[in-house]
Symmetry: C2
Subunit: 474 residues, 2 copies
């Protein structure tokens, strides 16, 4: 009957509209960047790239996917998070998990003996996303690495110097950089009586200390990873050691300290003494904390390791990390090229910068347009195009609204909304006389200021002198 | 016996070294970009981004993969080239095939009524690679699109204007832009007697005319795609029509032309008349050729289409293409947002720019370092770091070589090799006196010029005035 027919018809409408819309979404853990977010991102990248270039780094690019074997056996427990491509015939491929392993493969493949490079690109991890906390499945990393045989700890110190320059310039809050050494961690485990075969596994447990209390980590060590309770307790006495670098190193190297008789610990502490000396020479030592609980999750580190975190805020997790990895290049070429590097996890930085901008409640400009070409009266589209083309030729950033007939106020509103500082205005009459008007476009000046009338042939010149002025002030 | 043992040992060595090295390669059809290539790429991107921003476009970013359904049914015969991700639990994902479909999904999902955006990013196609001809499986596209309801052909004209600005500024050779209209192609097929169901299939055949002679395409139409020979021959009389836009359009719109009585053709020709008028107003019409053989492979175009090619060189294939696609956004949201855009295939542009640079045989600088901080005498590493840190604080791009002891000539060679214009030099004695030397570093001046001695506290100031000068001249 009729009502059933109408119901079916309505149901069909719902289904069809679902059908149209259900694919209008994006993969879990990813996001689009909107124009306002891109504007902030560009500002952050400019600061970061500026620091990398200031230190003489070259740029390079690698494919977004690698042969699966390139990534296998490099990341320890995290390897399960790697994205694989489907087998469509041909090679087995995986999306890059970080920029460090591709860099090591690059150095080995192209036979570089030394290189200082930066790489800003997205990496992929099938992790549980926490979008509100800045944890995505696709996210940017900004990496800076120095590969090559150099004086002990000199490249390490420069990497850390670059990191402090970036975090200072971004002005996103007070931070500290935790420092430790894989050699010191291994020695500490050795001193405590952890068997060598359990070093990496216990290291992974220690790595959780930034998120979990010691009691929880101790339980994991004893119950899940099979460590005798007294060994775990001894580790507990070490991992609470943290402090100002020069103070703590003096304590650890003092005669009678538990490390002083251990040859591995001695070597690692020598490294740290040198590192602190260089950081002091470059004026950034106050940013660092020597922290024996820092472990880093990844397998490939071999020496100094670090992680930058925010101080005393609700912001959790690290904003940057890195360390020395002397054996990674050799895993590809057989030729050992010692390397050290860092990665800034820029998604968190973006979130913080966005919060700061929102708090200012000022509108973020998403274009750089300097001039809006506007007309009075109907049918002036072609004339607007002609004037715009003249400005583009002079490398002036200009726009017209591509509508056939426009009222003048709509053009003013568009200009104000977009934050465009200048307007060029004309009607049939002005054009016939060979004249145009120039008008500054600010919210308060939009009504009052009298436009300046200039001859058409002097338009570019007049605009140039004015744009220079406003850009200089901005 | 002994020789067999030695042989086995040698064989083992070979196998082990293969084992180490066999993963030191990258996926088929992809490439790493080396520092020199990155320097050229950055130059090209600066020109392209500059043009996009000059026209008021905003930037945006989308994920590298999309839900598989987002891409399904958008590319016609080329869909088989899409890279799928493995099923690891969760959604079915594919790498983006172009930037246009993700843009349409973006516009629909975020509810934009109009937007002018650019997007420079890599896309993925499981095509047969031809690396020497610039055809890769992973390659950059530089896209510029205008979505929104605007005056007929006004946005189309601006897209084409941007394209000519970019190709002019890149200075990579003489080019022409072929123009046609999907409505005109469809009308032409209708006039020739092609059944509507075969339009897209015959269109794909016509698309091959830039690579194959008419005879081969005619054979494909008749034998593979089942077109009666007399229909194919009639198409042959149309697709040879090409010429200067205003001349050809006059011929086609003249009373008695085959198009004049066809309503679809009439609408398409009206579009083209308007387009040519606007291109003329913006001063770029001489770059265009009206070419009835241009078809474009992708399914989604609905109006004006174009392709830029090099003139009279061995360079084959298009360097840019695009057109109007009024129905793509609506496929995601159900709401029609007419759109038009273009894509510059930048890998070919890179190849040409690299050839031009190679022909100049000048070394390409891969860093922007302005000052090399060098020392005389042993054990000066910490002092070099201190001076470098001072320069970095002043935002001067500076490097030191991180070796413990260095002879002076090695530092000069490094600076010359890297093209670093200035050197700061000191030994123990100068530092004790509170002095440093500044020296210009050019291949011919390296021996002769006397270095300038300046007080340490005036170093930044003295360098700044000099760096300003050389940068200004460069």
């Amino acid at each position: 009957d009729q009502s059933v027919g109408a119901l079916l018809e309505a149901l069909k409408g719902v289904l069809e509209s679902n059908d149209t819309r259900r694919f209008c979404k994006i993969p879990k853990g990813t996001r689009d960047l909107l124009p306002e977010q891109m504007a902030i991102r560009e500002r952050a990248f400019a600061i970061i790239t500026g620091a990398f270039k200031r230190h003489g780094a070259v740029a390079l690019e690698t494919p977004v996917f690698e042969l699966r074997e390139t990534l296998t056996g490099k990341y320890g427990e995290d390897s399960k998070l790697i994205y694989d491509l489907a087998d469509q015939g041909g090679e087995s491929l995986s999306l890059r998990y970080d920029l460090t392993v591709p860099f090591a493969r690059f150095v080995a493949m192209h036979g570089f003996g030394s290189i200082k490079r930066y790489h800003i690109a997205r990496v992929y991890r099938r992790d549980q996303p926490h979008m509100s906390r800045g944890r995505y499945r696709e996210f940017y990393q900004c990496d800076f690495d120095i590969a090559g045989i150099y004086a002990a700890m000199a490249a390490d110190a420069e990497v850390l110097k670059v990191l402090t320059e970036i975090l200072d310039e971004l002005q996103i809050g007070d931070y500290e950089v935790k420092l430790n050494h894989r050699g010191l961690l291994d020695s500490m485990m050795d001193i405590c009586g952890v068997p060598g075969s359990k070093f990496r596994s216990i290291c992974s447990a220690i790595d959780k200390l930034d998120k979990e209390p010691w009691e929880a980590v101790r339980t994991e060590m004893v119950e899940d990873r099979g460590l005798p309770p007294e060994v775990a307790d001894k580790i507990g006495t070490f991992v609470c050691l943290r402090g100002e670098p020069l103070e703590l190193i003096e304590k650890l190297t003092a005669a009678g300290s538990q490390f002083s008789g251990h040859s591995g610990a001695k070597l690692a502490l020598d490294d740290m003494v040198l590192l602190f000396k260089y950081l002091q020479a470059m004026g950034c030592l106050p940013r660092f904390v020597f922290d024996l609980s820092l472990a880093r999750g990844l397998d490939y580190y071999t020496g100094m390791i670090f992680e930058a975190v925010f101080k005393g805020t609700s912001q959790v997790g690290s904003i940057s990390g890195g360390g020395r990895y002397d054996n990674l290049v050799g895993m590809f070429s057989g030729k050992k090229i010692p390397s050290v590097g860092m990665s800034v996890g820029i998604e968190r930085v973006f979130s913080i910068m966005e919060d700061i901008e929102r708090a200012k409640s000022a509108k973020i400009r998403t274009t750089q347009t300097e001039v809006l070409v506007a007309s009075l009266g109907p049918e002036m589209l072609k004339a607007r195009m002609e004037v715009c083309a003249e400005l583009w030729s002079a490398n002036i950033k200009a726009e017209f609204i591509p509508k056939a007939s426009l009222n003048f106020n709509k053009q003013v509103s568009f200009g104000l909304d977009q934050g465009i500082p200048w307007m060029v205005i004309f009607g049939e009459d002005e054009l016939a006389r060979g004249e145009v008007q120039i008008k500054q476009l600010t919210a308060d000046a939009s009504e009052s200021d009298t436009p300046l009338v200039v001859p058409r042939e002097r338009l570019v010149e007049e605009l140039r002198s004015r744009i220079g002025t406003t850009s200089g002030l901005a």
